[in-house]
């Protein structure tokens, strides 16, 4: 095994372990963990069998396998970012509704009589 292989294999395994640990401590929702586990496994597999990347690049007629790797990596990161923005917007909406509800309830609890 050459150095590059070892580094990517160790990297892939490390990500898997971190994800499993985060899941175990209930710090990460399953829906996010699945994605990163898949990425980590892909890294580990490619580390063990780099020929796989060459083969896929060949099928897709991509001249340089590294380009394929970078392209796919970029796509994955982009979709993760979009997904997080979406989740963030949803959370803000939910927070807003909760804030309104709290204000309405506080008015009811601590203030004067509600209008009839």
């Amino acid at each position: 095994m050459n150095d590059v292989k070892i580094v990517s294999l160790v990297g892939g395994i490390a990500i898997v372990l971190v994800m499993v640990e985060l899941l175990r401590r209930r710090q990460l929702k399953e829906k996010y963990a699945v994605l990163w586990l898949a990425v980590a496994l892909a890294v580990a597999v490619l580390a063990v069998a780099p020929g796989l990347l060459d083969a896929v690049a060949g099928w897709l007629s991509v001249a340089d396998p590294v380009n394929l790797l970078l392209f796919v990596g970029m796509l994955v990161l982009l979709s993760v970012c979009v997904h997080l923005s979406w989740e963030c917007s949803r959370l803000e909406d939910e927070t807003r509704s909760l804030a309104e509800e709290i204000a309405l309830l506080r008015n009811l609890v601590e203030q004067r009589e509600p209008p009839p």
Binding site: T95, R96, A99, E100, I102, A103, L104, R106, N107, Q111, R112, P114, P115
Partner: protein, 244 residues
């Protein structure tokens, strides 16, 4: 359209401890039969303490949501307690509540009435991007709503029951969303808009910035708010309810 019988005056206030009590008093004098709701948008000064000394109901938001956020809380309050009109008056005292009865009377012919500055009065010399923005706003919104609107960003407005039900569901919290985008939403829902001339007092906070960069940013945000209002999907059907 029948005139509303139960009017709620909503006053969104953010750090307005100096003016808020006076505004409540003026509103109660101008509209003795209306209830007043002060929405404290998580002020960092004594707005809430002052508000509690007035005769108004008080909503205290635990986080700062902006004017649009404060207003939607007010609309949900109105819906929950069965009001059939909501009048918005700014907490900084720039609106004269004496004009309020005329605004409410205009609900006879419209679902949303905007109190607009007299053209020329209190106007300052505007040119460049800010002027384009104001023109674009006036023209586009007049076309979209089918009413002549000259002061679309005015926060002095009153809406009837149908409109407030729509607003309780969809009231944008973004900058310009509460003024510009809401007009587009109202028009798309098939509701009507009218404008009533009012006088505005000087704002305590001074005039909006004249810097060309900020004006250009303003123009961009106007276009964005107009575009979003057109693009976004809303549930216009009556009977779609918010959990109130």
């Amino acid at each position: 359209m029948p005139l509303p019988s139960r009017v709620l005056v909503v006053i969104p206030a953010y750090n307005e401890e100096a003016t808020v009590a006076g505004v409540v008093q003026e509103v109660r004098a101008a509209l003795p039969s209306a209830d007043v709701l002060l929405v404290d948008d998580c002020s960092t000064d004594g707005t809430r303490a002052v508000a509690l000394t007035t005769a108004a109901q008080v909503l205290t938001l635990p986080i700062n949501l902006g004017v649009g956020g404060a207003m939607r809380a007010g609309f949900r309050y109105a819906l929950r307690y069965g009001y059939d009109a909501v009048l918005q008056v700014d907490g900084d005292g720039q609106h004269d509540p004496q004009d309020a009865p005329r605004l409410i009377a205009a609900l006879a012919d419209a679902d949303l009435v905007i109190g607009a500055r007299f053209a020329g009065t209190g106007d300052y010399d505007v040119r460049g991007p800010r002027r384009w923005a104001m023109r674009l706003l006036a023209r586009t919104l007049s076309r979209v709503t089918g009413a002549r609107l000259t002061d679309a960003t005015s926060g002095f407005r009153v809406c009837n029951g149908r409109t407030l039900e729509l607003f309780a569901r969809h009231y944008p919290a973004e900058y310009l969303g509460d003024t510009v985008e809401t007009l587009v939403i109202v028009a798309r829902a098939g509701l009507t808009v009218a404008q009533v001339p009012v006088t505005m007092r000087d704002r305590a906070g001074g005039q909006p910035s004249q810097s060309p960069v900020r004006a250009a940013v303003y123009l961009f945000r106007v276009v964005l708010a107009l575009g979003l209002g057109r693009l976004r999907r809303y549930d216009f059907a009556e009977g779609v309810r918010v959990p109130v």
